[in-house]
């Protein structure tokens, strides 16, 4: 406990000096909430972001992601590398049929990803590029509201929408509730379909729901999310604290026009796209 606190202070101090240049990851892991012990998580205050709210000074983190689809599509196969990294990190089974498929992050055409936007007379960028899709880790997640056992819940200290695979009863109410189609269900035992087994992450059993967890387990070890790491150096995915005005992600958001998926549903997603 003391050690984590010391580390936090040390890095927090360092990041004041380094300012925006401090790597996002260092700041993330420096926060006690992301260390393994949860005892000293910051108070769980609601921190509305954007959406016309007056900006308050948030006391907790809200992890988010900006996906620069221009950069992501600039390098051949980069999206697939990011997807493969996620599959390897999380023991995601690869089923041959669409019916049983399990996806945490995958790619889809613009019209499927941004269903509220028109693709009529759209530029080539819109028609030709691929767009990655993943859980939006919404500020107001309908899935968490729907869950009758709190097996899926929002980690207030980080804003991550997490899952407890051991509590999930498999009612799939969250799948009906998610406006983004981000959730998958284990229609059968997934283990025989896991291609390469990563012992650092649990495999799932049949009958439970799963989805992207923003790599909560990697963040706790001071690592970036797997997809972010796969795109390292390209600037295609920026990950960080949306509530920290000095963070790299906020700098990216300040600079470019970004869009979110289905903003009309009022969920306030934490994943932003530069098209």
């Amino acid at each position: 406990m003391d050690k984590a606190r010391r580390t936090f202070l040390k890095i927090a101090g360092a990041s004041v000096v380094a300012g925006m240049a401090a790597p996002a990851v260092m700041k993330l892991t420096a926060t006690p909430a992301l260390a393994s012990s949860e005892g000293h998580a910051a108070p769980a205050a609601h921190a509305p972001v954007g959406g016309g709210h007056a900006e308050e000074t948030p006391t907790v983190m809200r992890l988010g992601m900006v996906i620069d689809t221009r950069k992501l599509n600039a390098k051949e196969g980069l999206i697939d590398e990011a997807i493969a990294a996620c599959i390897a990190a999380h023991n995601i089974p690869q089923f041959p049929d669409k019916k049983s498929e399990i996806k945490w992050i995958w790619k889809a055409p613009f019209e499927n990803v941004f269903t509220d936007h028109s693709v009529r007379l759209g530029s080539k960028k819109i028609t030709d590029n691929d767009f990655p899709v993943l859980c939006n880790h919404c500020d107001e997640p309908p899935c968490c509201k729907a869950c009758p056992t709190q097996a899926t819940f929002k980690v207030e200290a980080t804003g991550i929408v997490a899952m407890d695979f051991h509590r999930c009863i498999g009612c799939r109410f969250c799948m009906a509730a998610c406006p983004y189609g981000a959730r998958s269900f284990n229609w059968q035992d997934p283990r025989p379909y896991v291609k390469s087994y990563n012992p650092d992450f649990p495999t799932r059993m049949k009958g439970v729901v799963e989805k992207c967890n923003f790599c909560g387990e990697r963040l706790a070890l001071g690592q970036e999310p797997a997809c972010v790491e796969a795109c390292k150096g390209t600037g295609a995915i920026t990950f960080g604290d949306l509530n920290d005005p000095k963070s790299e992600i906020r700098a990216v958001l300040d600079k470019d026009f970004t869009i979110q998926r289905r903003p009309t549903t009022g969920t306030n997603p934490s994943v932003f796209y530069i098209v």
Binding site: C144, C147, P148, T149, G170, G181
Partner: protein, 389 residues
């Protein structure tokens, strides 16, 4: 009173054996599903609820429909329903038993079902649904049993039971309202995101439930010598016609909102259900025949039930009620739930076709419900005959 289920004509035993056989098939199918997982069904990532949840939704309505007997009898003192109110209460018990079984059949991890109780989540509509469904089940068992026992002893029912009888009326409304709220509170599903869902559910419930009770009365008249009385049945027909017309009116309103506003999201599911949805050059129209059957049967049934012949002729009456029950089953027990998933949040269309194994479980659960209702009706009519004879 339970001993009354142990004596019956051969036809009674043949019927029970038939139901028992269907239940055994259902159980065998369920064991297969339990071992393999819900991949044994036709459900998929895109259509993540199927026949089980749609049957559940429909049967909640059948259960709630019993209140159309309880309310006139106990609140308006409509004496003609005296003989059949118990049938409504016992039908509700059978329907809720089926509802709970369909929910269990649909769970990926049924052994964890008690997590709903262990980790109560008051923000989830399923939490309230579990409360009202079990509450309504309990109320119907209590009221039905206490009142039947009093009848058997030919004494007035104890006064305290009326508290629970009256309580069961708002509970009946609540079970279908909360079930509607499972759907109409989800931000991403246009077809379900409609304030008319709860009223529509109630209207179709108040038609389909009493229709099934009339069918039961006609069957009981032939096989058990139990006459519900023409006056009571004709009154029920009036209730059924009004409720059925309300349901059709509400369905029409959905069409108006979708097509006049011309908002694509409001039209997709209706388009898919009634006309076939065109997407990337392919037309998806699996449910179109079912939905037009619903429309034709519903209006046909209303017309048949409204004729003077239905007031006198058992066959005409039965025909109208069967048609109406099937119509509303097609509407709510098939179309409503499945169309909510069309298109998927990523605007892809995946059609759902149940598997044979899934149908086996579904039939098995229906058979269980029929068995429960048969046994309860046997008791109720045995008591009637006892005090009359």
């Amino acid at each position: 009173m339970i001993e009354k289920t142990l004596k019956g004509k051969p036809a009674y035993w043949v019927w029970l054996a038939f139901l028992g056989m269907l239940m055994a098939i259902g159980a065998a199918c369920y064991i297969r599903q339990y071992n393999f997982g819900l991949g044994m069904t036709g459900m998929s990532r895109d259509v993540s609820w199927g026949l089980y949840i749609s049957q559940f939704t429909f049967l909640v309505g059948v259960a709630a429909g019993g209140v159309m007997l309880v309310l006139p009898y106990y609140i308006h003192n409509y004496k003609e329903f005296g003989r059949i109110t118990i049938l409504g209460e016992f039908l509700a018990i059978g329907a809720i038993v089926m509802c709970l079984m369909f929910i269990m059949a649909d769970l990926g991890q049924p052994m964890r079902a008690l997590n709903v109780v262990l980790y109560p989540s008051p923000r989830s509509m399923l939490f309230y649904d579990a409360i009202v469904l079990n509450g309504y089940l309990f109320l119907n068992i209590l009221c039905g049993w206490v009142i039947l026992t009093a009848e058997k002893k030919q004494v007035k029912p104890p006064k305290w039971i009326y508290f629970f009888v009256y309580l069961s009326i708002p509970f009946a409304v609540s079970i279908h309202t909360v079930t509607a709220m499972l759907y109409c509170g989800l931000p991403g599903r246009h077809f379900w995101l409609s304030a008319i869902i709860a009223p529509r559910f109630l209207a179709s419930a108040f038609a389909a439930g009493p229709a099934l009770i009339i069918i039961a009365c006609l069957v009981l008249k032939r096989v058990a010598g139990f006459d519900a009385g023409r006056k009571a049945m004709n009154k029920l027909v009036t209730i059924i016609i009004y409720a059925a017309m309300l349901n059709m009116f509400f369905v029409g309103l959905e069409f108006f909102v979708g097509y006049y506003s011309n908002i694509p999201g409001h039209k997709y599911a209706l388009e898919y259900l009634f006309f076939g949805l065109e997407h990337h050059g392919q037309v998806y129209n699996n449910l179109v025949p079912f939905m037009w059957a619903f429309v034709i049967l519903a209006f046909g049934a209303i017309a048949v039930l409204a004729t003077p012949a239905a007031k006198k002729n058992d066959f005409v009456l039965g025909l109208g009620c069967v048609a109406l029950f099937i119509a509303f089953w097609l509407d709510k027990g098939i179309g409503f739930v499945i169309a909510g998933f069309i298109p998927s949040p990523l605007h892809e269309i995946t059609e759902y076709v149940p598997t044979v194994n899934e149908l086996g479980i579904t039939v098995g659960i229906w058979a269980t419900g029929f068995l429960v209702v048969t046994l309860l009706y046997k008791i109720a009519i045995g008591v009637e005959h006892e005090i009359e004879g």
